[in-house]
Amino acid sequence: MTTTASPARTAPPARHTGFGHLLLSEWTKIRSVRSTMWSLILLAILALGLTGLITGITTAQWGSLKPATRIQLITNPVDTIMGAGVEFGQLTIIVLGVMVISSEYTTGAIRSTLLAVPRRLSMLAAKAVVFTVLVFVLSEIVCFAAFFLGSAILHSHVSIPLGGTNVARAVIGAGLYLTVLGLFSMAIGGLIRHTAGAIAGTIAFVIVLEPLSQLIPGTWGDHIHDYLPTAAGRLVYAVQPVSGQVLPAWGGFAVFCAWTAGLLIAWAVTLQLRDA
């Protein structure tokens, strides 16, 4: 331990910290915590592993499949390929999105963050941008990899060109869905501030509420279901519309984005008003 404190005086610039500095700072934060990297590795393992497993079993069992199932696979193989991977992969994205902000509250690191960047909306914006870019790039890589893996395994029974109707939209859409889901979870994490509560809340919202809405009879049920955040978002990676579908693919995605924007705004407002 030295007894001197004579660091070189750096002349403070009179202007506020540039947004680029905030992005760099948030990038350092996100990459320097183990849970981030583990969540992303888990996303790749789950998405690719399950796609490989499902399509592999399908190929092996091809001869003993029911004719109806076989026809379903031949007419719409992409939904089988993308479905399993994204359904499980989304859990890691929810955990990651929530933890990116809630862990700052549970550890107290948020106080260091806000002392460095007291303009809280700038902090929120920088965090959201870094997170979105990271999750978008990785989700798209994972979704394209899952698609190529699945179509290669099913190749002997059905050919699936990326240029087929709605196929490219579904693959790109799956990555977009995961990205927006990450932001959606992050906003809930920022609002609830407790890791366990926010993860449970998001999963309840995404996985429990959605099937429940299908119990509502008639077209009311269809409308309510389609306008729920992740049910709407999911339409963007479905190649074929399902019966009772109210919204078009991109329309559904827009509804999901609107929900997410609403939650982000709610988070921004409370962030400004609440004590850290």
Partner: protein
């Protein structure tokens, strides 16, 4: 310079900080004292823009914290509550803070060396001892080489070497003309470090004066005298206008007197004039701890009678003390 103007903060029905005003001047170490729950940490949080006051204003160099460009280059803060992610290494914690201020990576290494954390910089902070966590907090505070430092209980968990180090660091930084505002519950620590004191109780200002003045104003000045002939000396002192009380030292030595109203040299002269032998003649100055206990005890009384002590005339303790 740190300024609090009529700061008030309520948490529900509880008033944590009540119409608090004070100024912390540069060039000296200002101690921030108060009993537990007096509102010290809340005040720090208000000064740093972490909490919003219900009314009033806090500024640093004339600007609210939230409006400071690159705040860490102006203000360094060590909070009492932990404020690091346990899964991040010390180096990365300091690195993201430095990057947010546009500070170079080399500055991170400088502050790590400054606080002596070189060997553990690449370890996750979750495994840090209280003392290591405290050093990391001080490193973060020093990162931007700030003019103003707010330190909440900085010696918490530090070993004696660390305490001496932080004490010298604070004094040196003050000599360089920086503003140092430090809270502590360790009275002796404040007594040897702080030049000036701001004392609060129940969220209100009790005293804002120099450390020496604070002790002098709020404790009795008395002289301990031991002599084999206390009666003669006592009458001489009474004749001089002072007061002498018999005191039982409980050590079987010569009888003792506690003298007030007559200074020690004059007692010596009186003893010589009346041919009384003195075995001991010791001026008793109160400790900061005693002064603090008396003043904050009063703050509770004032609080109950809803009278507000002011900065200009802090209440001076009048209760009789049994002395040491």
């Amino acid at each position: 310079m740190i300024e609090a103007r009529a700061l008030t903060k309520r948490y529900g029905p509880k008033v944590a900080v009540d119409n608090l005003s004070f100024t912390v001047q540069p060039g000296k170490v200002t101690g921030f004292l108060g009993p537990n729950g007096a509102g010290k940490s809340t005040t720090m949080r208000l000064l740093l823009g972490l909490d919003r006051p219900n009314s009033g204003m806090a500024t640093i160099n004339g600007v609210p914290y939230r409006d400071l460009p690159n705040p860490l280059r102006t203000v360094g803060a060590l909070l009492e509550a932990r404020s690091v992610h346990t899964g991040r290494t010390a180096f990365n914690h300091l690195l993201f803070l430095a990057q947010s201020q546009g500070l170079p990576r080399s500055r991170v290494q400088e502050v790590i060396n400054l606080v002596g954390l070189g060997e553990v910089a690449s370890r996750r902070t979750g495994g840090f001892s209280l003392g290591m966590g405290q050093r990391l907090g001080i490193a973060a505070a020093m990162l931007g080489n700030p003019e103003v430092l707010l330190l909440d209980e900085p010696v918490n968990g530090l070993d004696p070497e660390g305490i001496l180090w932080i004490r010298n660091l604070m004094k040196q930084l003050a000599t360089e003309g920086r503003t140092i505002f430090v809270s502590s519950h360790l009275m002796n620590e404040i007594a040897v470090t702080a030049d000036h004191l701001i004392v609060i109780g129940r969220g209100r200002l009790i005293a804002d004066c120099s450390t020496r003045e604070f002790i002098a104003r709020s404790t009795h000045q008395s002289v301990l005298v031991r002599t084999p002939d206390p009666a003669r000396l006592a009458s001489a002192i009474t004749a001089e206008g002072g007061q002498a009380e018999n005191r039982d030292m409980g050590d079987g030595g010569s009888p003792a007197l506690t003298v007030t109203g007559v200074p020690a040299p004059r007692i010596g002269e009186l003893a010589a004039a009346s041919s009384v032998v003195l075995h001991e003649l010791t001026p008793q100055t109160g400790s900061l701890e005693e002064a603090f206990m008396e003043l904050t005890a009063e703050s509770v009384e004032y609080g109950q009678s809803s009278r507000q002590p002011t900065a200009e005339t802090p209440p001076v303790a009048t209760a009789e003390r049994s002395g040491q």
